[in-house]
Amino acid sequence: MLNKWWTERARLRQHRFMPHDHSDHPHALLPPEPALRVKALETILRDKGLIDPAALEEIIDTYQNKIGPQNGARVVAKAWLDDGFRAALMQDATSVVRDLGFYGRQGEHMVVVENTPDRHNMVVCTLCSCYPWPLLGIPPGWYKSDAYRARAVREPRKVLAEFGMTLPDSTAVRVWDSTAEVRYLVLPMRPEGTEGMDEDALAALVTRDSMIGTGLAHVPKGAAT
């Protein structure tokens, strides 16, 4: 089946990649081959009553516009501010984030792993790209790459160095491998110079990468480092 697919791609490529002058183009632009195949699946499944087009739109809108690292950043900021919240989060993240309105549509469990001066956590999915969608949205391309998936476990310090992170030798690195059932979120260390900051200000310091473990939370401007 794949061979046929690629043959089709080759057949269509010449047409598709020809220079297009939109002003006198006789017909609609042909989408890329995989896009046509997805449309084909949608057509077949819709005709059989197996999918609801409105539900598809809702899913795309949710993941494109509503869910993203800002959700996870909110959780992290709350944990920095409230020891009781942090304790509950470490104990049962699934319930705590569900109470905030962030729940896994695939029924997965959330586990939060906390960075300390002694231990740095980072998250990977060696199988494919399991990721805490409700808290971080769709993973970035590098998280899905073979290079990250293979190397994060084998040589985490080297990978972190490529992200610009050098940890002291005294800090152990723990790599967590996500699965279909369990998704991890790193709770980064609260930066220096953030005393007295409120939840919104703290959340703004929390980057996506700091919650995957390939970065640190930002230090506020003007704070001594």
Binding site: M1, L2, K4, E8, H22, H25, P26, H27, A28, L29, L30, P31, P32, P34, A35, L36, R37, V38, K39, A40, L41, E42, T43, I44, L45, D47, K48, L50, I51, A55, L56, I59, I60, Y63, Q64, G68, R105, Q106, L127, C128, S129, I138, P140, G141, W142, K144, S145, D146, A147, Y148, R151, E162, F163, G164, T179, A180, E181, D209, T214, G215
Partner: protein, 121 residues
């Protein structure tokens, strides 16, 4: 084992990147999530199949997590739907060809839709 370098890490780090780079990436993702939520397959089954396909694809060359990742995703969904009897290879090819024809015969700028004759099949 080959040890590929990481794809444009520093360029990607800290920058806003769209959730989906191509519309069809979003569509095939949504289709899969929707079918899972409708109970057509479990997410564990999806992960098992998808990781197998990723391994096969990755054996040929290192995947960069972009277009090739979603090509593997689509191939996984096609195989799953075929095995489940929901969309055979022949049906997919038929519908794909119908969409291609629709695009090539619709005047530029007009909405593209399948012919009523096909929809009535």
């Amino acid at each position: 084992m080959d040890c590929p370098s990481l794809p444009d890490f520093t360029a990607a780090t800290g920058l806003e990147e769209p959730a989906f780079r191509e519309p069809w990436h979003a569509q095939v993702f949504a289709l899969t999530v929707h079918l899972n939520e409708a109970g057509q397959f479990t997410w564990a089954e999806w992960v098992h199949r998808f990781s197998t396909v990723l391994r096969q694809y990755g054996a040929e060359r290192s995947l960069n997590g972009g277009e090739d990742y979603f090509n593997a995703w689509l191939a996984t969904l096609e195989a799953l739907l075929q095995d489940a009897g929901m969309a055979s290879a022949a049906q997919v090819e038929d519908a794909r060809a119908a969409w291609e024809t629709a695009y090539l015969t619709t005047p530029h700028g007009a909405p593209v839709a399948l012919k009523a004759s096909r929809r009535g099949e």
